[in-house]
Subunit: 86 residues, 2 copies
């Protein structure tokens, strides 16, 4: 199964989607021995600054979701992009 299918499942086939979206996923797999500080939140803030140089991003259009399980930590940022003026 491709990464696109794993991430978006069946949604791909829909003819037209309402809004353009950008999803950023930061997945950190620890080796269980290191006690390095957790840098995902700081990294996420900086990544958002970089992204806002490429697309106009409104705070209310950003959803952040953090998941932790065993040695895994996944930070998911979903951004609905503003509609292009036609």
């Amino acid at each position: 199964m491709s990464l696109i299918e794993r991430l978006f499942g069946k949604r791909q086939k829909s003819a037209a989607i309402a809004r353009e979206r950008l999803q950023i996923i930061l997945a950190h797999e620890r080796d269980g021995r290191t006690t390095a500080p957790d840098y995902l939140p700081a990294l996420q803030r900086e990544l958002m600054e970089v992204i806002s140089k490429y697309v106009a991003v409104h705070q209310e259009d950003i959803k952040v979701h953090l998941e932790r399980q065993d040695n895994f930590e996944v930070l998911e940022v979903n951004i609905v992009l503003p509609e292009n003026k036609r």
Copy 2:
């Protein structure tokens, strides 16, 4: 199914993993109408600069994979992190 399970599947349960890893996924879902320039490659370069401020990253430990399907474009960057000196 959680995002961690979708991304890592059964691999989670293995007791010890050899190396610490960081995965960055940039998924861009277009609305099919816009012809905005493709900014994922440039965005990916800048994100790597940000990441290298947080972790020492060696070029040979970075794998980049780009997938395109319908309105979807997914850029996956997998980084094997250097082992911590104990």
